[in-house]
């Protein structure tokens, strides 16, 4: 996979201040593949996403995005390789209205969704386009966070807990959007607590524990390994 990997991480170590969170993590996501990272709270899933995005104070090892080494790159350079980031906290700007939140991320490449397409996909956002970003409901904020990166022409998406704390009908809507990303041939790396959602979307699952990948489970192995997964996730 080394040649055509959208994302290739080798022996990644990551730190928050003095605490060592990621301990030699390695994983790879092929172009057009959808991969989920699953694991308990505190396993280091969000830290992994932030490390890929260049948002950790200190990281070492190797992270290649589309074959380009980014371990020493600042976040803006990583984004410009065509990476769209949806952070766990959603990151909606309170000082911008919904439309400005959508328009903020600069265009990275051709082929992104137009504003019209986005409003068709998320009619709520059109209705509330003049509202302050943080006045939206949790579900609408999540839609906004995803819609925001669809516009940019990114083709590698990092989605951190996109369905966390949302009502089932909104979870369905967001799954449809992520499925749409896959159908367009985009690459998706997903952190997901909701195993039902993860199993529906991902081609492969990396199981994470204590800052390392401890297992890889292909979609075809899910049923056979269900007990082991339950034990690992504590569900």
């Amino acid at each position: 996979m080394a040649e055509d990997a959208a994302l290739q991480i080798d022996d990644l170590h990551g730190f928050y201040g003095e605490s060592h969170i990621l301990h030699g993590l390695s994983l790879a996501v092929g172009k057009g593949e959808a991969v989920a990272i699953i694991g308990r709270n505190g396993a280091g899933k969000t830290t992994t996403m932030r490390a890929i995005m260049g948002l950790l104070e200190r990281r070492s090892g190797s992270i290649k995005v589309k074959g380009k080494e980014t371990i020493a790159s600042p976040p803006e350079a990583i984004a410009r390789l065509g990476v769209g980031f949806v952070p766990e906290e959603r990151g909606i700007y309170a000082s911008l209205d919904v439309a400005d939140n959508l328009l903020l991320p600069p265009k990275l490449a051709d082929g992104g969704a137009s504003l019209d397409e986005i409003y068709r996909l998320f009619p709520n956002l059109r209705e509330r386009r003049r509202s302050q970003g943080t006045r939206l409901s949790g579900g609408e904020q999540q839609m906004l966070a995803i819609a925001r990166v669809l516009r940019t022409g990114a083709d590698v998406f990092l989605l951190d807990e996109p369905t966390e704390g949302l009502a089932p009908v909104i979870v369905e809507q967001i799954c449809t959007v992520i499925d749409g990303m896959k159908k367009k041939g985009h690459t998706v790396l997903l952190v997901e607590q909701n195993f039902h959602v993860a199993s529906q979307l991902a081609d492969r699952h990396y199981v994470m524990e204590h800052g390392r990948i401890v297992d890889v489970i292909a979609r075809s192995e899910l049923t056979a390994k269900l007990d082991r997964i339950r034990a690992l996730l504590g569900i």
């Binding site: 600042p74 803006e76 980031f85 309170a94 000082s95 903020l104 940019t152």
Partner: protein, 289 residues
């Protein structure tokens, strides 16, 4: 006491308020984006006045071209200082920013005292703006009216750019959440350099506007910046429009105090500052951080 005296003092207050507005607007942009309380703002104001004087004296370049050249030059010097010095301390406590910019203020002032000594140098009112209007109840010098109009234009233009343009949208986003904004591909460090340049350019422009009213001297900014900091504490650093409104209101109030109780006029802003700090520590328009 005649209305003429009151109106005269209110006009002085309005003019001072205009300078406060340009200075504190610059401070608000810089603090929002860089997290630095830029004491050196006073030095950039003084440099604005001195550059105008130098342009006129040494190159024969007059007031109106200076209106573009001076903010540009002051902004570029600011950007160089941000790159060389301020950039290194963003990760540290706010106190370091205060100390460093105080050092920069002292250094620049010292440099100009060494080069030009402390005596004031006159800068003539440009010919087009001499004379004035007889309003019946008072005489309004044209240049004073111009200063108020020009500074309001500078402030309003800055506000419009921040609130209504894509550049302003990016600036507001970078102010609120710099890391996430970088993760969208925005070069926030470059934006911070630019923002510092704009903030000090406003001070430079204020220096040019002030040059024909006050004499140009190396120490003119150090005194002003202390008052402007009090204004900023009163207004709070949360809002661009808030800092403009607070500045004008306090300028007027100071003018009024000069009529009612001249001995206390220089104190009034500081007394208000203490009162505001007791009641609303984040300032009138500020948000608690």
């Amino acid at each position: 006491m005649s209305t003429q005296v009151i109106l005269g003092q209110l006009l002085v207050g309005l003019i001072n308020g205009s300078f406060y507005a340009m200075m504190s607007l610059g401070l608000a942009i810089i603090f929002g984006l860089l997290g630095i309380a830029n004491i050196a703002q006073g030095a950039f104001y003084m440099m604005g006045a001195f550059f105008s004087w130098m342009l006129l004296r040494w190159a024969g370049i007059g007031y109106f071209p200076a209106l573009i050249l001076v903010p540009l030059a002051v902004g570029l010097i600011g950007m160089a200082i941000e790159r060389l010095l301020l950039r290194r301390i963003y990760r540290l406590d706010h106190m370091y920013g205060l100390l460093l910019t105080f050092g920069i203020l002292t250094f620049i002032q010292g440099l100009f005292v060494w080069l030009f000594a402390t005596a004031g140098r006159p800068y003539p009112v440009p010919a087009e703006l001499r004379g004035g209007f007889d309003l019946g109840f008072m005489f309004l010098p044209a240049y004073r009216a111009w200063v108020v109009a020009a500074s309001l234009t500078f402030c309003l233009a800055t506000w419009l750019i921040i609130e209504k343009t894509p550049l302003g949208r990016t600036l507001r986003a970078a102010t609120e959440n710099p890391n996430l904004t970088r993760a969208f591909g925005v070069n926030v460090p470059a934006l911070m350099t630019f923002g510092f340049g704009v903030g000090v350019a406003l001070a430079g422009a204020a220096g040019l506007l002030a040059a024909p009213i006050y004499s140009v001297s190396p120490l003119m900014g150090g005194d002003l910046v202390i008052v402007v900091f009090a204004v900023v504490v009163i207004g709070g650093l949360g809002s661009i429009l808030g800092s403009i409104v607070t500045s004008l209101a306090l300028g007027l109030l100071e003018g009024l105090a000069r009529v009612v109780y001249p001995q206390g006029a220089n104190m009034v802003i500081f007394v208000i500052m203490i009162a505001v700090l007791l009641v609303r520590p984040a300032g009138l328009f500020g948000r608690e951080r």
